[in-house]
């Protein structure tokens, strides 16, 4: 079962186009939505939140297709935006006072616990908080109305490394009962990738893959070798290639094929997720657009 499914999503803006994107958020698991800035991650997330309407295609939430606006669905989703969306001039206390009544399942005690755990000063104004603090507040809200799906847009930006690690435990706690699902997006590979079960990779408005992280890592290889190996038949086999004065590094998406072709002629290594993203975005020449 899926917490959310996006099917055949198309959307065009003045300078950006999303073409036929399909992916799912599996129930009970953590999905990482990765890709460079401007790849369309936030737009996809806002489509799940019903803030943005796709030109074509549809979104399914908790098993039902969204035809008309389904406000009840938002009760079941905890949303952490990539930017602060709360009213700057209010204190945390007042902001909470405004938003809590909207949720039928608001858990005041849980929320209080998170405030303490995250060391959030209730009487401070939102504009006086650091980026990380604002994110923590947003997370506390998202976790305090028994949402079944937690969606976090670039949550690690602005968080210190210590809290990022704590976040891993916190999210793992959420997953213990197998009923909740998590989606996070990031443009840099982050600590969150460690616990991600599925990776959805988008680039320039297109889906590159939606697979388990283990599959992704197993199937990709990083080939390193001398430039004399790069003949015109070999070149197209790489998803991304970096050439230098002393050789090349290239990403291939099919491990067995790579081993068959290069055998012992080149070094075949296990790439990290970061390398997979880097080489795929880079392609076969030029610079990485960030």
């Amino acid at each position: 079962m899926n917490a959310a499914t996006l099917e055949g999503i198309w959307k065009s803006y003045d300078s950006f186009k999303m073409e036929d994107v399909n992916f799912s958020i599996r129930k009970g698991y953590i999905t990482g939505l990765i890709g460079p800035n401007g790849a369309g991650k936030s737009t996809l997330i806002r489509m799940i939140m019903q803030m943005v309407k796709p030109d074509q295609g549809h979104v399914e939430l908790f098993g039902s297709k969204l035809e008309h606006e389904a406000t009840g669905m938002r009760e079941r989703i905890g949303y952490v935006s990539d930017e602060n969306v709360f009213y700057d001039h209010l204190t945390l206390k007042r902001m909470t006072n405004i938003l809590a009544p909207f949720y039928r399942n608001w858990e005041a005690d849980t929320f209080r616990d998170y405030l303490e755990r995250f060391e959030l000063p209730e009487n401070k104004k939102i504009k006086d908080l650091s980026k990380g603090m604002k994110m923590k507040f947003s997370l506390a809200v998202a976790l305090s109305h028994s949402a079944e799906l937690l969606i976090m847009d670039e949550p690690t930006a602005g968080l210190d490394p210590v809290f990022r690690r704590e976040l891993l435990d916190l999210l793992a706690d959420q997953l213990q009962d197998e009923q909740r699902s998590i989606l996070f997006s990031s443009h840099i590979t982050s600590d969150l990738d460690r616990i991600a079960d599925y990776i959805v990779f988008v680039n320039q408005g297109k889906l590159i893959f939606d697979e388990t992280k283990d599959e992704v890592l197993e199937r990709h290889v990083l080939v390193k070798g001398g430039k004399e190996l790069l003949d015109p038949d070999i070149r197209p086999l790489f998803a991304g290639l970096r050439e230098s004065g002393v050789g090349f590094e290239g990403l291939m998406t099919d491990r067995t094929r790579a081993e068959r072709i290069f055998g012992s002629l080149a070094l075949i290594e296990q790439p990290t997720l970061e390398e997979i993203v880097y080489f795929t975005v880079k392609g076969k020449g030029g610079f990485v657009r960030v």
């Binding site: 435990d169 793992a172 213990q176 283990d214």
Partner: protein, 127 residues
Amino acid sequence: MNILISNSSGEPIYAQIVAQIRQLIFSGELEPGASLPSIRQLAKDLQISVITTKRAYEELEREGLTESMVGRGSFVAGVNPEFLRERRLKALEQMLNEAMIEAKALGLSQQELTEYLTTLYEEENRE
């Protein structure tokens, strides 16, 4: 029970889990009937993905080392560790047999093959 995951070993994480739990069972530290942590708890403790952990548990079950019961998690199988060791020795014998056949095909003598194995051992130890 201790499980230590290395991020720099190059060995897949699930394989590291399988190897370490297997070792714990063989050494008797985990006795038959002992329960393993739940998949999601272990994933949390190791800060790794649930799917990776699940895969390790499935592998252990396939090897006959553990059993799982719906709603109750995984247990070390009730079989005698000696028996399991016996089974793995059998598998090893098979692999050695294959190596022997291949060595013959390549025209290696028994001594040459033994030396080859000794060299491999030495290299491994040096690492």
